[in-house]
């Protein structure tokens, strides 16, 4: 019975997301069904999370009735507006013969195993990783039990960690609890593992646009078997959901740059904005994206309207994030990441940077955590400088550079002792690069997949 309630809650997420997606995308042939389902899940999760947050913010009691009322209103509005077009998507894939070789089938079986394993593992036990319950699950538990968002109470409550972290996923977890009528951690972990499957599916569809199915599947297998990703996907850490939104953000912006279809620009901007609601790193990703876009617009010849492109990727994500900024400012939820005079930064760099680089290098080259992803990246990078396959791929390198720089800047200016900093770096070094793996892997595929390009 409880599993049926969970399935219904996911179904409501997907249908709500689908209604919003259909309002953006009127054409029938832009997106295949698998891609539509995953996009609907991503958008729907944001919808139910923000809906629950707004209900709590406006002092409405958190109840399933209110939530379903909004979802139903949205679906009816979309159905009335789109009429017959509401249930349309690209069905041409249905007639296509997708997989030809036993090799492709072998790859597919391994990918399905990885996803199946992550689902199985996540639903088997309650939260067992610190941040999953201390930083995120605890918030969802408080919101569910109080049927409200008691901000003042929460921030003063012992054990309420990181009040400045965005609350989209804790409210999405609250939504699931409301559907279930009880706290059920294994099902929340199962919900979070959908983001892992979503990342792989989004990655596959983007690769398949440019490469043969075998190569796209090989790329997905590499993504699915990154040990750190496969291990964290079942823990309900928020690094996987944010990696999902970052994947959607960058890959649809890439697709816009290739195909010049405005739908993809909007989708990319939307996912970037939603990523900002998942973790604070989503904000730095947005900054990195805007900086990288500025640089490619300035240095590369692009056959797009540059001003509109820059305006949309700057404005839409910021507009989505703006309410949380106001909320944080109003309730003074900010955290001080910098203290002291500016000239002290040089001493901090001298003191901290060698340690940061040392820990990161040791971790990234650990095959038990990353397989040979970063070795492959270095080879692809050298190859890119010798013989670039697509100059536009600079956008991936620039985003990786800026995002990593933001991580390092925070490490350097953070007003904590060196011992504490070492602890923080060791805690985050397995997780922060995870947010960039699809960007890195897509770059490797672009640079190395010339032989497997689809005609």
């Amino acid at each position: 019975m409880i599993f049926l309630k969970f399935a219904l809650s996911i179904l409501n997420i997907i249908i709500s997301g689908y209604a919003i997606l259909r309002l953006f995308s009127r054409s029938k042939k832009e997106l295949p069904l698998g891609e539509v389902s995953i996009l609907s899940f991503g958008i729907g999760t944001a919808f139910v999370g923000l809906e629950t947050f707004l209900l709590a913010l406006f002092k409405r009691p958190l109840s399933l009735g209110y939530i379903l009322l909004f979802s139903t209103a949205l679906i009816i509005a979309a159905a009335l507006r789109l009429k017959k077009d509401f249930f349309c998507c690209d069905k041409s894939w249905w007639k296509q013969k997708l997989f030809y070789s036993p090799f492709a089938i072998f790859l597919l079986i391994l990918i399905i195993w990885e996803i199946f394993y992550v689902f199985l593992e996540s639903a088997s036990i309650p939260f067992n990783a610190w941040d999953a319950w201390a930083s995120w699950g605890f918030k969802a538990k408080i919101f569910f039990q109080e049927k409200a968002f008691p901000v003042r109470y929460c921030t003063g409550f012992p054990g309420f960690a990181h009040p400045d972290y965005p609350v989209l996923i804790p409210f999405a977890e609250t939504y699931i609890y409301l559907f279930l009528g009880q706290i059920h951690e294994p099902l929340i972990k199962l919900f979070c593992s959908f983001f892992y499957a979503g990342m792989i599916v989004l990655f596959y569809y983007q690769l398949k646009r440019q490469f043969k199915p075998e190569f796209a599947l090989a790329g997905c297998l590499v993504l699915a078997t990154i040990p750190n990703l496969a291990n964290l996907a079942s823990t309900a850490y928020m690094d996987v959901p944010i990696a999902f939104y970052i994947t959607g953000g960058i890959l649809y912006i890439w697709r816009y740059l290739k195909e010049k279809n405005n739908l993809f620009l909007i989708l990319g901007s939307l996912f970037t904005g939603l990523g900002m609601w998942v973790k604070n790193e989503g904000f730095s990703f947005w900054l990195a994206l805007v900086l990288a876009a500025l640089m490619i617009c300035f240095f590369l010849k692009l056959n797009i309207e540059k001003k509109r492109f820059l305006f949309v990727i700057s404005f839409i994500p910021f507009l989505i994030y703006f309410p949380w900024l106001v909320f944080k400012y109003y309730f003074r939820l900010g955290v001080t990441y910098f203290q002291g005079p500016l000239w002290g930064v040089f001493d901090l760099i001298k003191e901290r940077l060698p340690m940061i680089l040392n820990i990161w290098a040791r971790s990234l080259l650990d095959a038990g955590k990353w397989n040979i992803l970063w070795v492959g990246f270095i080879i692809a990078l050298i190859w890119f400088f010798i013989r670039p396959r697509e100059k536009l791929a600079w956008i991936f390198l620039l985003i990786t550079f800026f995002q990593s720089a933001f991580y390092f800047i925070i490490y350097i200016i953070w007003p904590i002792t060196l011992v504490d900093l070492e602890l923080q770096i060791l805690n985050s070094v397995d997780r922060l690069p995870l947010q960039l793996v699809t960007i890195i892997l897509f770059f490797i595929c672009l640079q190395s997949g010339e032989r497997w390009k689809s005609s």
Binding site: L120, P126, W130, A134, F138, A218, G376, V419
Partner: protein
């Protein structure tokens, strides 16, 4: 030997193939460990109910939390004390204490876990962590 487009493409293909094969060999270890874990831990865990699953994660500590939950009113406060003395900052005992405070706050919500002498006045119960014996007890004050 002169390097033309064909030679470079062939080199690229071979290099990509070699890297992918190495990846698969290393990934095979991951898949094997996942199969083992599925058989040894994941599938057996499905036969437990939710309470038993919590016991699987937290062991006797979960039972202690349930014991406190049954004896302390909702929204009451408890003070967390360490005996014989507070552990040194960042020592292994300090990390254990921090974990226990955090986990108890989570499991016992909406009961409040307070720390330090300042909180002692308003709390009628105390959770005492004995470092020497690594045990927990609930005291009525």
């Amino acid at each position: 030997m002169k390097w033309g487009k064909r030679e470079i493409t062939a080199l690229e293909k071979n290099l990509v193939t070699v890297i992918f094969v190495i990846w698969c060999i290393l990934a095979f270890r991951l898949v094997i460990s996942q199969v083992r874990r599925t058989l040894d831990f994941v599938l057996p865990a499905y036969s437990f109910n939710l309470e038993e699953k919590y016991e699987l994660i937290d062991g006797g500590f979960y039972n202690f939390a349930k014991f406190c939950e049954a004896r302390v009113q909702e929204r009451a406060s408890m003070v967390f004390k360490v005996v014989p003395q507070e552990p040194a900052f960042r020592s292994p005992e300090w990390f254990t204490k921090e974990y226990l405070v955090g986990r108890l706050s989570y499991l016992l919500y909406p009961r409040k876990i307070l720390r330090g002498q300042d909180a002692a006045g308003e709390a009628r119960h105390a959770i005492v962590f004995d470092i020497d014996s690594q045990s927990l007890r609930l005291d009525y004050r």
